[in-house]
């Protein structure tokens, strides 16, 4: 142990050594550098050191008669030179603690993470209580603001526990000092829980159902998203982690539903790797909600989750500078097939963030760096005050939507916009007998009754005549849940029946038609989404249909990729002729074709982009709204409780201060502390 370097002893030794008064503070600081025993200290040449100190000394020289209590730059520097241990960087404190008690176990999980917690995206996780998921977690910037606030108002700063013992449990099973906190927390939890337990505790009015006139930016954000069409791209930046998911998921859900409903493919990016995983969860939840209508969003086709942007502001800058490269790789590391040369190809940039710093990064690195698409900001309450400043100052930031109350208003507007109109027949979302219309109306009826729409309960109609003269089918055909036909109850290929069984390709990607009912058989051709074929048979277990091809051949297609229906032969022939005349696939290929790579050694071919869809009402209508009102009422009660707790706490503190003044020896609660 004698050979080991002891930081504490070294510092004490240095501080106890007499220092000549004429020696500059900077030189004393330089001389305090630690050095290992037995290792010669690096000393600068005398002449060089003299010149350097002479050059630096003049601006640090403090006038002898200036008031030391004033906040001058010199006094601030002087304070820094003799700062207390608590002001040391946390890392230095940790090193000091370890040098004092080297036998302290280092296997503590938090200590093990000490070296890596800085590189994690959510540094709050390594901090003191509050933690990541706790509602009271404050970011570093927020804590600094609180400390500045305490400094300004003169409030006492709570003493921090020693760094090495922060996560060690206290010895007592219960401490009376913790009782007020527990009572306050229990009261808050009870109050916030009441609206969920019973509707009798509905307190406060719900937010407005229309955009407030005093916030024109709110309506501008909605209109910008509503003006997107199927040929546009929207860049959606999900810049929040799980700690803010409870607040911002509702906004992200609404934005994505709005974008999907307009038939737009969102390009989802993030400088937070956890947000990339969370984006999948949000879209999975949207898929679950619309599963009853047969719609299924597929990655790489209906949306793209792009690769992680490392480095915070650097990553965001890279997105702006090298957009073409960023969009070419998905978060899974595979090619997206997107060929977008610059950010100008994006019609709208949507930023959903829980951090004012992230808003600032996007405003500085994307909005200010070039003439890109307008930025639509969606933030949490905590980031809103700073984000509002940028929204007001920059014309490129169209507006700001923040918090759960805004999410409610946005959802109401969205519901009103999509709720009163039946699904658009132009993209063949409705079938000839209006089946899809009735499905779309289901959630409206459910909402009217205050019930949650059942997304997956109702099976689709079994016999859905396919359109005969309508535009070509789309990627979202009607669902089928009928039993697969067997070979015995299907018509034969030679039979000439008025009603025939057909299948419609529902897979959004190209489907292979094979020579036999196995994947080992040769591929005869590729079928596009919406192609229809007459069924002439099926294999034994119904997993493959035998179909008639246009050129007289027969092929097999997997049953799970198609929807089955019945129609008349005349209607079928007319519909096929109509679709063929328009050549929708070729048209789309010319407009928005992209290279699809199916793996390293797989086939490469140009695939038609998604048929342009719009006004897919299911995304908006089949949204779970059952918890909206209770959450808003719970927030109202929680706000009241928080205000009450703060007032009571301040009153108690004031009493403590008064008592401290009455007794000079008792300074508990004194504001002078």
């Amino acid at each position: 142990m004698s050979e080991e370097f002891n930081w504490l002893e070294y510092v004490e030794h240095e501080e106890s050594a007499p220092e000549p008064e004429r020696r500059g503070r900077l030189s004393r600081l330089l001389s305090r550098r630690p050095c290992l025993p037995g290792r010669p200290r690096l000393r600068l040449p005398r002449l060089r050191r003299r010149f350097r100190l002479a050059g630096l000394a003049f601006w640090r020289r403090r006038p002898k008669d200036s008031a030391p209590e004033q906040e001058s730059a010199t006094s601030l520097l002087d304070q820094r030179a003799e700062r207390p241990l608590e002001d040391l960087d946390e890392r230095l404190q940790f090193l000091r603690e370890r040098s004092i008690s080297p036998s302290q176990p280092s296997a503590d999980a938090q200590q093990a993470l000490y070296e890596v917690d800085d590189v994690l995206v959510t540094p709050e996780i390594a901090q003191k209580p509050g933690g990541v998921i706790s509602a009271g977690a404050l970011s570093k910037a927020q804590r600094q603001q609180v400390e500045l606030l305490q400094d300004i108002v003169g409030g006492a700063t709570q003493a921090e526990e020693p760094a090495g013992r922060r996560f060690l449990p206290s010895q007592a099973l219960f401490s009376l000092s913790a009782a007020p906190r527990m009572i306050a927390a229990a009261a808050l939890l009870a109050l916030v829980s009441l609206p969920f337990a019973s509707s009798d505790f509905a307190v406060g009015a719900l937010p407005p159902s229309e955009f407030p006139e005093e916030r024109p930016g709110f309506a501008a954000v909605y209109e910008a998203l509503d003006g997107l069409t199927g040929s546009d791209f929207a860049l959606v930046a999900l810049e929040y982690g799980p700690a803010a998911a409870g607040e911002l998921d509702s906004l992200a859900d609404l934005v994505l539903r709005h974008v999907f409903a307009r038939g737009v493919k969102p390009l989802i990016v993030s400088s937070n790797p956890i947000a990339i995983a969370h984006a999948r969860n949000i879209i999975r939840a949207i898929n679950r909600s619309v599963a009853g209508s047969g719609i299924s969003l597929l990655p790489g086709y209906d949306y793209h989750i792009l690769r992680f942007l490392p480095g915070g502001a650097l990553g965001i800058r890279e997105l702006n500078e090298n957009f073409a490269d960023v969009v070419k790789v998905s978060a899974k590391g595979i090619s997206t097939g997107l060929q977008l040369d610059s950010l100008d190809r994006v019609k709208s940039i949507v930023l959903i963030s829980d951090s004012a710093e992230t808003v600032r990064n996007w405003a500085e690195q994307v909005v200010a760096a070039s003439d890109n698409a307008p930025l639509l900001a969606f933030t949490s309450y905590s980031a809103a005050p700073i984000a509002q400043v940028y929204a007001d100052a920059s014309a490129e930031i169209l507006g700001l939507v923040f918090g759960y109350r805004d999410a409610y208003t946005y959802g109401e507007e969205l519901q009103a916009s999509f709720g009163g109109v039946p699904p658009a027949p132009a993209n063949n979302q409705s079938s000839a007998d209006g089946t899809r219309d009735s499905q779309a109306n289901q959630p409206q009826e459910a909402d009217a009754m205050g019930e949650r729409p059942q997304a997956t309960a109702e099976p689709a109609p079994t016999e859905t005549p396919l359109p005969s003269a309508t535009p070509p089918p789309t990627a979202t055909p009607a669902p089928t849940s009928t039993a697969l036909p067997t070979a015995t109850d299907l018509p034969t290929a030679t039979a000439t029946l008025e009603t025939i069984v057909i299948v419609e390709v529902r897979s959004p990607q190209q489907v292979r038609i094979r020579r036999g009912p196995t994947t080992a058989d040769d591929i005869l051709r590729l079928a596009q989404t919406g192609d229809t074929f007459e069924v002439i048979g099926a294999n034994g277990d119904g997993s493959w249909y035998q179909i008639a091809l246009a050129n007289g051949l027969e092929g097999w297609i997997a049953a799970f990729l198609v929807d089955e229906g019945r129609t008349t032969r005349a209607a079928f022939e007319a519909g096929r002729a109509s679709a063929s005349a328009r050549s929708p696939t070729e048209r789309v290929v010319l407009e928005r074709g992209f290279l699809l790579s199916l793996g390293k050694n797989g086939p490469r071919f140009y695939q038609a982009d998604a048929p342009i869809l719009s006004d897919i009402h299911e995304f908006v209508l089949m949204r779970d709204r059952s918890q909206e009102a209770p959450r808003l009422e719970a927030m109202t009660l929680g706000t009241l409780a928080a205000v009450l707790l703060i007032v009571v706490g301040n009153v108690l503190s004031a009493f403590g201060a008064l008592r401290g003044r009455a007794d000079p020896n008792d300074r508990r609660g004194s504001f002078d502390d």
Binding site: I152, A197, A244, G333, S382, P630, G638
Partner: protein, 224 residues
């Protein structure tokens, strides 16, 4: 993992985090810390996976299959970029080796300098100039000219007095104490700053309440 299993896990983890309400006690506190450590571990692991899949893997694939290059620079340039990044990463790993710490510092210096340059340029063009322009311009969204003027005046007073609260200059020899006017301006600036920080703190409380209600909503839905 089924949705139901995920819901159960979420439910248990939520309760474990809520156990912190009872305090950092020897037995109950373990639940809170366990949940946090699980989250820390998963965060670190997922960060590693995402970084590998989204950043490193494409470079490795490019080095094997030049025809699948996804950058406009070409496969050879990708390889150079990849090995430069790899070199920097290796230099960072040398940090524990004391004689070679300067190598680590060199790599860090590049990252810090580049980051600082980007931040400074962005701050000038994205924060300083727009905010200065907004401060000296009349607000556009005000209802009347008078309210716009009032709002602008308030903004000006708040900015100037806020700046006056912080003064960094070295006082001249024999400088008198701040005048009453100066002290008054500082107090006004102090009031603006306290109000602004109070608003931010109130917004943070609202955020916390929103998150709390979402978790409680989840618990009730799970129990229903």
């Amino acid at each position: 993992m089924t949705e139901q299993t995920m819901a159960i896990v979420s439910f248990v983890l939520t309760l474990m985090v809520f156990s912190y309400v009872l305090g950092d006690l020897p037995l109950i506190g373990v639940l809170y810390r366990t949940a946090i450590f699980i989250f820390v571990g998963m965060t670190a692991a997922f960060t590693l996976v995402v970084t590998y899949e989204g950043l490193i893997l494409p470079y490795l694939q490019d080095s094997q299959d030049t025809s699948a290059s996804w950058t406009t620079l070409g496969a050879s340039a990708d390889i150079y970029i990849f090995f430069t990044a790899l070199l920097f990463a290796l230099l960072l790993l040398l940090k524990p080796v004391r004689p070679l710490t300067w190598l680590t510092n060199s790599a860090l210096a590049v990252v810090i300098v580049v980051g600082a340059s980007v931040a400074v340029v962005g701050a000038l063009s994205g924060t300083l100039f727009p905010l200065l322009g907004a401060t000296i311009a009349l607000p556009e969204n005000s209802a009347t000219e008078f309210s716009a003027l009032l709002e602008s005046l308030l903004l000006f007073v708040g900015t100037m007095t806020g700046l006056f609260y912080f003064h960094y200059q070295v006082r001249a020899t024999g400088a008198p104490q701040p005048s009453r006017l100066g002290q008054g301006l500082r107090h006004i600036g102090k009031a603006f700053i306290v109000t602004a920080l109070g608003a931010i703190y109130a917004s943070t409380i609202l955020s916390s309440l929103t998150i709390l209600t979402e978790r409680i909503s989840f618990l009730f839905q799970f129990g229903a």
